[in-house]
């Protein structure tokens, strides 16, 4: 019984982290169509925000609050200075953002050093039968659920969300009603970056923080968003659920290596059977 509960928590944790890590890319790539290869570095910058905050005596929680703000602002600067010249040019965007990712890794290596750093996991643990589980893992699950829900509600029910969605579909119409599409692009990209910053900051107390941290995640989050398909939020969360469950269930039953193999295999099979992604099955949604 306790084994089942602990395993279920573990699986839920995998799904939650995958969804949280992919959420920013769901906006930037899924919704805006920007092939941002520097998304992994946005995660890395979020993690470093926590590191810098805690080395200045702030708590991990303060770092997690600051990270989306800092990385969101960086996202806005990146959009203004690079991305806005490249809308509708996917190959050029890939090249530019790949270059940006190298620059960001290099800049952080120069300023923070190439070594692995870290902050301790806060909150301690609780007992579940014979097992003890880190409380922070539960918090991560809650943050992931909260962030996904907040983004969904904002895009679905607020005026800003409506404008953002409309701009991605028919920018001329939005312009005709007196709103500058340029500014909508800028703030939407900033939101995607901010979400990546949040995800990176939440992961920081669980692993070591290095400048090349983004490399470990970039492939995984692109796969999740692509498997998710056209409806960015429902698609990404359902893809995260399927892939996260497969990866962690296989990891728990065997080893982490087979977990990764199984996840990639399932992603390939899914894309073969559903070329439009999982949410291609839905008729309408977000």
């Amino acid at each position: 019984m306790d084994l089942a509960a602990v395993t279920a928590l573990g699986v839920l944790f995998s799904v939650a982290t995958l969804a949280l890590l992919s959420l920013g890319l769901a906006i930037i790539f899924g919704m805006m169509g920007v092939l941002n290869l520097a998304q992994g570095e946005f995660l890395m910058l979020g993690a470093y925000t926590v590191l810098v905050a805690s080395s200045h005596g702030l708590s991990v929680w303060a770092g997690i609050v600051l990270a989306p703000i800092v990385v969101g602002l960086i996202g806005v600067i990146v959009e203004r200075s690079i991305i806005r010249f490249l809308y509708g040019r996917p190959l050029d965007t890939m090249l530019a953002t790949w270059g940006l990712s190298l620059v960001l890794v290099g800049a952080v290596t120069l300023t923070m050093g190439p070594t692995t750093e870290g902050v301790a996991t806060p909150l301690g643990s609780f007992e579940l039968g014979r097992y003890s589980v880190s409380i922070y893992r539960i918090v991560v699950i809650a943050i992931s659920a909260g962030a996904s829900l907040a983004v969904y509600l904002a895009l679905r029910y607020t005026r800003a969300g409506l404008v953002a969605r409309a701009t991605m579909q028919v920018p001329q119409l939005v312009a005709a009603s007196g709103i500058e599409p340029e500014r909508v692009y800028m703030s939407t990209f900033g939101l995607g970056a901010a979400l990546a910053g949040l995800a990176g900051s939440v992961m920081a107390p669980l692993t070591g923080v290095v400048p090349t941290l983004g490399l470990a995640f970039i492939a995984k989050i692109f796969i999740t968003v692509i498997v998710g398909g056209p409806m960015v939020l429902i698609g990404t969360t359902s893809a995260a659920s399927v892939l996260g469950v497969v990866e962690s269930a296989v990891s728990y039953a065997s080893t982490p290596i087979y977990g990764q193999v199984a996840m990639l295999t399932v992603a390939m099979v899914l894309l073969r059977l559903l070329p439009n992604g999982l949410s291609g099955l839905w008729r309408s949604g977000l």
């Binding site: 602990v6 573990g10 870290g118 014979r130 669980l206 692993t207 070591g208 728990y252």
Partner: protein, 411 residues
């Protein structure tokens, strides 16, 4: 032979650096210097081990030069950052031996990197020092392994842990040659100590989520977790183990923890009490070490994180070579090897060490220590002059010199 591939490699690698190294190498020979080579990782995931070793290399060479150099000439170091990439080890080793014509080659951190360098060294009949803790068994006329081996570490750590914590062991090992061979040695010594291996797991170097591993450890309920984890990513294990509250319940012992200054990256409350075993600790109380640590801090800064066992081993490697070359009054590998096999001893920061002629390994005094709350270690038990018997029992390079192999434990 210059193939298209090597030409491209040179262009793509670091053409400018190569050119400079080449030019200054020739100038150096004219100026009557001895060129020596070093290959270590100062970037990439293995740099947690490499950075103190790079510092120790420069420190040792300056020290040898300050005391008159080797056969009356100064040493000049040519070093390459191998970027935690084994392919670069082969490439740069060839470069150092053929182009820079180094008198001795030192370096390599992971056992995979050593096995990339060794065939190159054997091919050109050069002399190579591998200065790092490793899984033992290398039996090669051209190679000297100055680091501590399983007989010295695991052979003492396991019996102590069985007695102190109980017989049920759970092994976590990095998934490459070091982890696999060391896990086998662990079984050998565990059997001798009448312990019981509950399970062993091999973890790829890029794994950062240990959730499933931690759950399996809890299900198995071992008395000790034996960690052979390696590299920056695996630090996450200790953090997640502590976050699950297990660091208070299941003790961890490790012959690798600390070499990468894990005790500095992690917080004391996460790893205090974890037990390790090495020949060298910065805290060692002997005259040579006191002087050495003071000189190190003067050179590299008073707040240098921690001087690792690997840094001490690198220092020993360079000095043993310099002693032998001076004794042989020659730089020719065959003559230097003969001098190295004459039973050299050296007053090292770790204490007096002896180079075993027949196995080309070092007899070390080892210390059991626990991580303390001050980002360092507290020594609590010392075992004097432990032979590298894992290698010495099977390898005799005096009786049978023509060997270039690595022995592994047989069951």
């Amino acid at each position: 032979m210059l193939t298209r591939r090597t030409a491209l490699g040179q262009l793509g690698g670091a053409a400018v650096g190569f050119a400079f190294a080449g030019v200054s190498g020739q100038r150096a020979r004219a100026a009557d210097e001895i060129v020596v080579g070093s290959l270590l990782d100062s970037t990439g995931p293995i740099n947690i081990y490499g950075l103190p070793m790079v510092d120790a290399t420069k420190f040792a060479i300056d020290d040898i030069n300050a005391y008159g150099g080797v056969v009356g000439k100064k040493l000049r170091l040519v070093e390459f950052d191998t970027q935690s990439n084994n392919q670069l080890y082969t490439q740069y080793a060839t470069q150092l031996l053929l182009d820079n014509k180094v008198a001795v080659l030192m370096g390599g951190i992971t056992s995979a990197s050593r096995e990339a360098v060794r065939p190159v060294v054997d091919k050109y009949g050069a002399l190579y020092f591998y200065n790092e803790q490793y899984e033992g068994g290398v039996c090669d006329k051209n190679v000297f392994c100055t680091g501590v081996t399983p007989a010295q570490q695991i052979g003492n750590l396991v019996p102590w842990a069985v007695q102190e914590h109980g017989p049920k062991f759970y092994t976590l090992a990095a998934d490459y040659n070091y982890g696999h061979i060391s896990a086998d040695w662990m079984k050998v010594y565990l059997q001798k100590a009448k312990g019981d291996l509950v399970a062993q797991e091999f973890i790829p170097l890029d794994v950062v989520d240990f959730g499933s591993v931690i759950q399996r450890i809890q299900s198995a309920g071992p008395s000790v977790v034996f960690s052979l984890l390696v590299g920056g990513n695996h630090i996450a294990f200790y953090r997640q183990f502590a976050a699950a509250g297990l660091n208070k319940k299941i003790p961890i012992v490790s012959p690798t923890f600390g070499l990468g200054n894990e005790q500095i990256v992690l917080k004391p409350e996460e790893v205090e009490g974890l037990t390790v075993i090495y020949p060298y600790f910065q805290e060692l109380d002997n005259a040579t070490n006191t002087k050495w640590v003071a000189a190190w801090r003067e050179r590299f800064g008073a707040n240098y994180p921690y001087i690792t066992d690997s840094a001490n081993t690198v220092w020993n490697g360079w000095h043993l070579w310099a002693l032998a070359a001076n004794k042989a009054a020659s730089l020719e590998p065959a003559k230097v090897i003969a001098a190295l096999e004459s039973g050299l001893s050296f007053e090292a920061p770790e204490g007096a060490i002896k180079l075993d002629p027949q196995s080309h390994h070092v007899v070390h005094t080892v210390h059991l220590a626990k991580v303390n709350n001050n980002k360092g270690f507290t020594i609590f038990k010392t075992i004097d002059n432990v032979e590298p018997s894992d290698t010495k029992d099977v390898c005799n390079l005096i009786a049978k010199p023509d060997q270039h192999t690595q022995y592994t434990p047989k069951f």
